[in-house]
């Protein structure tokens, strides 16, 4: 208080309309700052708490099975034999497949909606429609996959298998539920994320950069491929990593579509399983020992998604400072 009085007394009492902030203003300002600080730290603590509790519950299983659990394929509840390698494989494979498909279409959509191919109003309408895809609940995607997508895929998949069965990707017959259907639905689910963030990245390319490209005599496609995409590449890779993060953690639609078979296969048509699906389907009837194993699996999934998300944040932050103005 004393310091504040001194501060005020320094100011000359000239005739002016300017007034120093009142004590109420200052208290309010302080409270507001404290409050935001508390909430920020609460979020961090919550994350730490979740990791701590799940880790704690997984600890017995980690002690008993060690890293062997991660590479084993056995899942025999009666003999207490557990392994989650097929689920890790299924999680990574389905997510990467979805990333390839969703990434390709997401970036293509983002280019189409930002590079003056359409009137501005139509761009906005289509942008919103693409973003609506994110509003569809996961379970609805699952149902749509089962009743609409699988019947549509069946004839094509059968043909691919019978004609190109020698090719690893098509080496098993299509049973409907499996990697292919799951990855396709997953790619649609991560499409809005990728498209939206890529659009932001492409819009952030300065007009003067585009002007420079056209001034050098590029055609529209040359400008997009040689200048605009490379300039936006930081933001676009961030979009891909965030999409991948979403795909890794997605549960319901995958549990409904992936077939839930502990199989490790390159074939798109083979049924598979994922970590998230394993957790969702096995918790209801798990005994104490099995709960520990599932917690171990949950930790593994958490670790994978955390690493991917941190990587994404890192890519976005480094590339935005590099590409930005100085």
């Amino acid at each position: 208080m004393a310091a504040e009085n001194r501060e005020e007394s320094i100011l000359p009492h000239a005739e002016t309309l300017a007034a120093p902030p009142t004590t109420v203003d200052k208290i309010f300002d302080k409270c507001f700052r404290t409050l935001t600080l508390v909430f920020t730290w609460a979020t961090v603590l919550l994350l730490a708490f979740i990791v701590f509790r799940i880790g704690g519950q997984a600890l017995p299983a980690i002690k008993e099975y060690g890293l062997g659990l991660l590479v084993s394929s056995d899942w025999d509840v009666n003999n207490n034999q557990f392994g989650i390698w097929p689920q890790i494989w299924g999680t990574l494979y389905s997510s990467l497949l979805a990333l390839v498909l969703g990434g390709f279409f997401g970036i293509t959509i983002a280019i189409f909606l930002t590079q003056d191919f359409l009137p501005h109003k139509l761009e906005i309408i289509l942008k919103n429609i693409v973003e609506l895809l994110a509003a569809i609940p996961s379970v609805v995607y699952g149902l749509w996959g089962i009743y609409v997508l699988i019947p549509i895929l069946q004839p094509t998949a059968d043909k691919l298998h019978s004609s190109f069965g020698w090719f690893p990707l098509f080496s098993t017959s299509f049973s409907g539920f499996g990697m292919f259907s799951a990855a396709l639905v997953l790619s649609i689910m991560i499409l809005p994320t990728i498209a939206a963030i890529s659009q932001d990245a492409l819009r952030a390319v300065p007009g003067k950069t585009k002007e420079a490209a056209f001034g050098m005599g590029t055609t529209r496609w040359e400008a997009i491929l040689r200048v605009i995409l490379p300039t936006a590449s930081g933001g676009i890779s961030g979009a891909l990593v965030l999409g991948l993060g979403r795909a890794l953690g997605e549960t319901m639609a995958l549990a409904m579509l992936v077939g839930n078979s502990a199989t490790v296969s390159l074939s798109l048509f083979s049924p598979a399983s994922t970590l998230a699906a394993l957790l969702a389907l096995n918790f209801p009837e798990a005994d104490l020992n099995q709960t520990g194993v599932l917690m171990y699996a949950a930790c593994t999934l958490l670790l994978i998604t955390l690493v991917v998300n941190m990587l994404g944040t890192l890519i976005i932050s480094t590339t935005t400072t590099k590409g930005g103005e100085r």
Binding site: E211, A212, A213, G215, M216, G217, P230, G323, E325, R326
Partner: protein, 263 residues
Amino acid sequence: MNTLLQDDIILDCRADKIFYSDFLAVRDSHVPIRKNQITGFIGPSGCGKSTVLRSINRMNDLIRGFKFFGSIQFHTMDIYNKKVDPVAVRRNIGMVFQQPNPFAMSIYENVAFGLRLNRFKGDMDNQVEKALRGGALWDEVKDKLKKSGLSLSGGQQQRLCIARAIATEPQVLLMDEPCSALDPIATRQIEELMLKLKERFTVCIVTHNMQQAQRVADQTAFFSVDLSIGGRTGYLVEMAATKELFSNPQEQLTKEYLHGDFS
């Protein structure tokens, strides 16, 4: 160099009318551009000098509603002929912009950009060095060609943009207020560079700085704004050799502008 060659007109720009949608931006401006000379475009803001400059390499085609009536004779061909591809025009007539705008890639790749675009088959390293020397930047960047073009200072970035534009050896170089974002020292460097560039290229420069026009331009075109038609329409008031225009202007408007009565 003999005088006859210097008097060669490489670009005969006749901008009878330039519209942006319904707005008449420029009227009745005949600007002959002489080979291996620097032609300065001066005038108050809104006088259409940039519009005319950007019409020369068809940059304005990128603006919706842009319409050009008249002709720009380049060698034996009108660049506004329907058969002419604006992209090809821009590859032959280079441009340097108001804001330095290097690409977010290495210094080397910035300069090699146009060469790759035009499927240059020769010695890339050699041509990049030649362009950077031409842009008076080589000594400053020869040890850091792999660094981002954006890591350079504003003046260096602008010289990089000049090097990028001249790497493909276009015949004409258009400069749209190239020094307006730069400090006086960088401005001086660019001006000295322009005087060197005119030995190899024909240069057109828009400037709001009359001293700059006097320092670098051989020919100067003075544009002004005509408010009488209801809009703000730019037009060419007079054009002459720079010394003559500044010492003995023929039009009253030019006299007033050079005298500082309006800007």
